[in-house]
């Protein structure tokens, strides 16, 4: 059983702001003390640069960094630690795949398929490489409920499709896409699949081995880990295809002035000094996640979203945007015709932190016929009482605005 109050006690932000109702977990989660300590302990006790040092601080830092890679590998069920590259985050991971993998194999007339619910980070990199290579970007639409017509996905794929990039969970609508089915359909058509796990990695157990996706990307800061680091998983089939992205120290075998040779993936993608302390922090966040039952945790959080939608029905003309059957702990909604920014400002005055805006999904909102929404996104430290509080405040706002 998830005990939100126990969990809350692990997150020092709530000691510091006892009244904080933090419903902006889709933007970034809070960090448990253990993550924070892992970072500061690294700097206080183990700090050194990695890979080339012969003294114990450096070999120890190197071992810790590489064991972070191992930990990520186990966390997502990858076959080999060589599959895991550390990046700056989801956004960089996707740009790397678009440029280092797809770019060289994309011909004029080819196409790339995404869905209409993608975050800008899983849209623009594909859009731009398609523009550059005169390829076509195809977009699987969403229906009114905020779902993809899974049965039609096959229709978007053909022998010229070079990539299908799709989010596991919509950061705006909460839709959980049936990624297993999607990968199956894509592979039937010989199309490689990138899964954007930014929103799912925290509480949804993912196993890349059974999922069989070709690429998986996510950010540490959305899973109780530090900012500044993320992951790119590349299936062993494609590891040799990954070209370098940035050039610099730490990714070469031999350099002379007029030509260089590069290490194999993942090292060829880790040019320059890595976010070393951040990898220690991410390792610790994974330890934290491994210590909770993530199936229970996601059930708990989905339950909060469900409860919130139920209670929202009481608030007169409030409307939920999208109603996917399979829905994560993320709810977009509108309060009458009050602009989301005004509502968010009122909520903020009551210590309720939620987002208002387009959530980096402008085209999706356009499809849904809205310009901006309020978005409440829940995590394991949130409670029904907090939701009750928000509902009460929403009612007050409505009254004030009437």
């Amino acid at each position: 059983m998830i005990d939100p109050n126990l969990i809350r006690s692990h997150f020092p932000i709530f000691q510091h702001h006892p009244d904080l109702v933090y419903f902006d977990n889709a933007a970034t989660t809070q960090r448990p003390q253990t993550t924070i300590d892992a970072v500061s302990k690294f700097y206080s006790q183990r700090n050194a640069n990695i890979h080339r040092g012969l003294y114990s601080l450096s070999t120890d830092a190197t071992a810790g960094y590489e064991s972070g890679r191992e930990k990520v590998k186990d966390f997502i069920g990858a076959d080999t630690v060589q599959s895991i590259a550390f990046t700056k985050g989801t956004t960089e991971s996707i740009n790397v795949v678009a440029n280092s993998f797809l770019g060289p194999r994309l011909q004029p007339g080819d196409n790339v398929v995404i869905s209409a619910m993608e975050h800008h980070s899983n849209l623009i990199p594909w859009q731009q490489i398609c523009l550059q290579k005169k390829a076509e970007l195809r977009v699987i639409p969403v229906d009114k409920s905020g779902e993809l017509g899974i049965n039609n996905i096959g229709d978007f794929l053909d022998s010229k499709t070079r990539m299908l990039a799709i989010t596991h969970i919509s950061n705006t609508l909460g839709t959980i896409n049936p990624v297993e089915r999607i990968v199956e359909i894509a592979h039937k058509n010989q199309v490689p699949v990138l899964i954007d796990a930014a929103q799912s990695i925290c509480l949804h157990p993912i196993n890349v081995d059974t999922l069989a996706c070709n690429f998986l990307v996510f950010s540490s800061h959305k899973m109780f880990g530090p900012f500044g680091v993320g992951v790119l998983y590349v299936h062993p089939d494609h590891m040799e295809d990954m070209l370098p992205y940035n050039y610099g120290g730490g990714m070469v075998t031999h350099v002379d002035f007029h030509k260089s040779s590069f290490m194999a993936y993942p090292h060829n993608l880790e040019a320059g000094t890595s976010a070393i302390a951040e990898v220690f922090g991410l390792s610790s966040a994974i330890d934290y996640l491994n210590n909770i039952d993530r199936l229970e945790a996601s059930d708990y959080v989905h339950g909060l979203a469900h409860y919130f939608k139920e209670r929202l029905a009481e608030v007169g003309t409030a409307v939920v945007v999208g109603s996917p059957e399979n829905c994560a702990g993320i709810v977009s909604f509108l309060l009458d015709d009050i602009h989301p920014h005004d509502v968010a400002t009122f909520l903020a005055e009551e210590n309720i932190a939620i987002r208002a805006g387009h959530h980096c999904t402008q085209p999706l909102l356009e499809q849904m016929g809205v310009k901006a929404t309020l978005r409440a996104s829940f995590s394991i430290y949130n409670t029904r009482e907090e939701i009750d509080h928000m509902i009460a405040v929403l009612k007050k706002i409505q009254k004030f605005w009437a």
Binding site: H339, H341, D342, T345, F346, G357, K371, K396, F400
Partner: protein, 151 residues
């Protein structure tokens, strides 16, 4: 509702936002000035008639929060039919008033500014109140510079 919020969402603002002045896509017009904040999604057009002497009527239309709508409504009220230099002075004064520049918050050039006195306490909402004024100010500035060159 706490006092901060009451100060921000004053009656005047609520009234302007619910019944904005000259809220209409007025086409044709002499100039369209776009006020667009990509971060929050606010998006307004100002439809401006003007001759070399002075600005004529200003209409506006678009999408944004109550603060931005009220602020643009007040803009349309105050700047319509102003002489170019006065319009410039008004824009400057409004922005200085909101930003507490050089004690400008003490004495508003126009009493209508006072409805926005609390925005300063909400840094995240400053853009909402100032976006339209900034863009219209730029438009007026460009005209005045051309004038200066011509003279």
């Amino acid at each position: 509702m706490n006092d901060r919020l009451k100060a921000l969402y004053q009656k005047v603002i609520m009234k302007h936002s619910k019944q904005p002045f000259h809220f209409e896509k007025k086409i044709p017009c002499d100039h369209i000035v776009v006020a667009n904040n990509p971060v929050c999604g606010d998006n307004y057009n100002f439809y401006i008639d003007a001759d070399t002497e002075k600005i004529g009527k200003i209409y506006f239309h678009g999408f944004g929060c109550a603060i931005s709508k009220a602020s643009n409504s007040v803009l349309a009220t105050l700047i319509s039919n102003q002489d170019w230099r006065d319009a410039y002075q008004y824009c400057n004064a409004f922005l200085a008033y909101l930003e507490h520049k050089d004690g400008a918050d003490q004495k508003p050039l126009d009493p209508a500014f006072e409805a926005f006195s609390a925005v300063h306490e909400f840094p995240s909402r400053m853009d909402c109140a100032t976006l339209g004024w900034k863009e219209v100010k730029k438009f007026v500035e460009t005209h005045l510079k051309k004038e200066d060159i011509r003279q």
